[in-house]
Amino acid sequence: MTHTAPGSNPVAALRHDLRTPVNHIVGYAEMLLEDLTGPEHAARRAALEETLKAARDALNAISLVLAPTKDAVEPSELSGLYHRLEDPQHRIVEAVHALLAAANEVPTPSFAEDLKKIEDAAQRLVPRDRAAVTGEVRAVAAFAAGVARVLVVDDEAGNRDLLGRRLQREGYAVITAGGGHEALALIAKNPVDVVLLDVMMPDLDGLAVLERLKADPATHDVPVIMISALDDLSAIARCIQAGALDYLPKPFEPVILRARLAASLAEKRARDQERDLVKALGAVTAAAAAVEAGAYQAGALAEVAQRPDAIGRLARVVDRMATQVGEREARLRSRVTELREAIGVARQTHDYVVESVSDRLKAGEVLAGRYAIEAVVGRGGMGTVYRARDSELNETVAVKTLMPELVADEELRERFKDEIRLARRITHRNVVRMHDFGEANGVWYLTMEFVEGLTCRDLLDARGPLAVPAALAIATQLAESLIVAHEVGVIHRDIKPQNLLLDHAGVLKVMDFGVARLAERTAGHTQAGLIVGTPAYMSPEQLTGEEVDARSDLYSAGVVLYELLTGQLPCDAPTVMALFARVLGETPPRPATLQPAIPPALDELIMQLLAKRAADRVAGAGALLERLQALV
């Protein structure tokens, strides 16, 4: 009876299987020699010594091809080994036959019995069944080629042997274990693709082994097929509940065995693939998060990017984008630095607004029992802006009072509230956050985030035209604010330097989103000729009272950028009517003709923003941002 030793691979098992009969031959031959001491046994001694010599030749051949350090062997080497073993096998069998047939020395029954054992062992050295040899060779090749590895766990050596051989013939690499503990130890060292697990085992039964495999994350996904007698259905049910994929009834039906193994392996492959995908996706997600946090390391996705599938493609795109974002950010930083310097100069010459009799509120006054007015910070078409202390939230806010005619009746106030509600949906670092709309002692007011800084108007008045990088720093942030506003359906309608606040760090804050619309609507209600918005910054369609969309804000942005760079308006005129005519009919001079430092691409971009027809402008704020970022 051969016992297939447990091993990590079929090479070890084969080594064991081949050495065992040789060991038997050597052992019995030596033992028999010990008894043959007298000179009359010379012939027998010679035959047994020839047997020993042949056995040692076999051992050498085995050790050469299946050295203990090897765990893979070429099929051709294995075929060669079997071929080489044929000679010692033949010599041993011949020696045994000679001993049994010796006429002068009739062997005792015990002597003959031991000789028979030697002969049997010699016969096992080379499988008589050539198909079995082919099966072994194929199993070894399969292992070397990374073909599916099956662990057979059964305490009955016969079952193990039968199943193992069958699977080897099917081309699987087979590992066997004679008990539960052994199986767990083997799996811990050698990953397998599927486990065939006997339910009834003395040391650690199939259910216990299964539970341990399922509890260990490293082996959780390995499919397990239970082996059991059909009358043990309740045990099978328990195993399936514990995570077994399937079961195989004894006696084995080769067709069923083949089908179940194939199905389990297909499932294992799918799971492995899924886990692999999740891992790759995780790497891409982590990289995207790193990009956002500014911590992306170039090449971090190199491995995933090599995949030929969609995730590989995604990784390549993320890597490319991250690299571009890095470059763009560096560009933006240098632009903001220039902007900051410009702001620094402007602040020194900036006049603070002084109080006027037209202001509704005075410093020291408390509005609505909550806002302590501190100073006037600006005046516009709709009212006065104050800096105030919100005693409830204990923070500085801006309070904007509204001219009474803007909020004359309930319907207007409701519309205004709607606009504010909409504008409040915009949350972005480049947008002044809107807080509240209310009334106290007949004064209607808006409260909003207070920005310590100055407007682009102040900057232009103090400094004149800006250098290209500083103007681009403003335009880039303006484009970003427009992207989020347009996304939630809010059109500013009054983009102009007065509405663009800059804090001391160079961060742009756009104010009055949604407010212009109110003034527009109120125009019909109040005195004729009230000019809503500032005509020089208004798009042709807005001036003519047509329906406007996001592209109107892009026109205004173009005017602002033009003015920031050249210090001049693209269309200017002493009267409103003359301005109308120019805005509607005249192409302004290219900004580069006024400011030669403007690069051609920027010059072209500004002219496109100022197109008379909305359809001829840059497609949207997102496209504008991309064009600005791409400028070197």
């Binding site: 009876m1 040789v22 030596e30 056995a55 052994e182």
Partner: protein, 123 residues
């Protein structure tokens, strides 16, 4: 007479080795697998254990560990017998608590030398 416990699952190996040892004057008891080997050894009375490593139930390494952990068998000499199928078997056997190690095919004189060394020359 010195009593040897031979733990070996292979019938031919068992037959051959036990007979050769008996001829040399040892009393040989046999266990067919690791579990039986541990049970028999714990029951006591053996001067030395010859332990095959590739055994069903529990293998020779585990059986040796169990014997070393039990006070009644902690000091009984154990010689591991391996088929030399795997590299590293020797270290594993010593690590598990075997006193010595021999590979198959067994060369009786060599094995007897190792046994004598452990038994203090008292065979």
């Amino acid at each position: 007479m010195l009593r040897i416990l031979l733990v070996e699952d292979n019938e031919l190996n068992r037959d051959m080795l036990s007979r050769r040892l008996q001829r040399k004057g040892f009393e040989v008891a046999m266990a067919l697998d690791g579990r039986q080997g541990v049970d028999m050894a714990k029951a006591g009375g053996y001067d030395l254990i010859l332990m095959d490593m590739s055994l069903p139930e529990i293998d020779g390494w585990e059986a040796t560990r169990q014997l070393r952990a039990a006070p009644e068998t902690a000091t009984v000499p154990i010689i591991a017998l391996t088929a030399h199928a795997m590299a590293g078997d020797r270290d594993k056997a010593i690590e598990a608590g075997c006193n010595d190690y021999d590979t198959k095919p067994i060369e009786l004189e060599r094995l007897l030398g190792k046994m004598q060394a452990l038994l203090g020359g008292g065979a």
